[in-house]
Amino acid sequence: MPFSKNYLNTRESKTIVIKIGGTVPFQKIYLPVDAELSGKLITGIEWDEGGVQVVAAATVGGVAYTLLNAGTTPNFTLTLVDHDNLMICEHLVLSTLGRTAANGKVRRFNLRMQSDRSYVTNIITSFSPVATAAVALTFYYK
């Protein structure tokens, strides 16, 4: 049976948890250095909503996180930067990458990013994340 032309063309995926607890509004919260992702062709990005796709109170690598959900995260944007320090996607609204807004679809991409130059931004001054707050992103790549 041939693939649907809508299939997500990926070989591997990696989920990154970005801790945002203790940050201030408009602070750039950089993604961690990741040798696996940098330079790879990113074919999809999905925001893993806490309490929807994954349990909200999650322990990853022995560290406890409170994963944000659509109710608490219409405040974040994701900016992707490539290895030449050029912004590929500036202020990509995080909520559109989640299951609630995208109705189960994974947003498809065709780009190469430098993970440690890309960042998440909290753009609302009234939101103070709890100490264990985190944003989980799944990158699909090949």
Binding site: A70, S95, T100
Partner: protein, 131 residues
């Protein structure tokens, strides 16, 4: 299905007192000049609460009173498309795709057909997907 290469978030602020018939033009965005726009997505306050410039995004109720017109050159190619239509979460997660349109932002505008749920200084916000 849209494959995203590049994207840019664009804001249109409802700067003056809102009134039926008011038009608010997009400002020039150098990054979007002469590029091929493949898709546009809009948001209400439930998708993005505040713009990067600190302006409150229009409410879900207010989004029903907004029409969007996007120009290619001098032609109004995308004429009065409802803002609601461009909000992907209202439409099963679908991002409205265009066929490589070179949008002339400074001639494009949003227009109010009512004022219910809208307030001055709120912003419409769009994510342009382009290559």
């Amino acid at each position: 299905m849209l494959v995203i290469s590049r994207s840019y978030l664009v804001e249109v602020n409802l700067a003056t007192a809102v009134a039926t018939g008011n038009r608010y033009f997009f400002l020039d965005v150098p990054q979007l000049r002469k590029v091929y726009v493949q898709g546009v997505e809009a948001f209400d306050i439930t998708g993005l609460a505040v713009s990067p410039n600190g302006k409150t995004i229009v409410s879900a109720a207010g989004s029903l009173s907004i029409l969007v017109t996007l120009c290619v050159g001098d032609k109004e190619d995308i004429f009065q498309i409802p803002y609601y239509t461009l909000i992907s979460k209202n439409n099963g997660g679908i991002i409205r795709e265009f066929y490589n349109k070179q949008i002339n932002l400074t001639k494009s505008y949003v227009q109010l057909v009512g004022t219910a749920g809208l307030a001055a200084n709120e912003s419409c916000i769009f994510n342009f997907y382009y290559k």
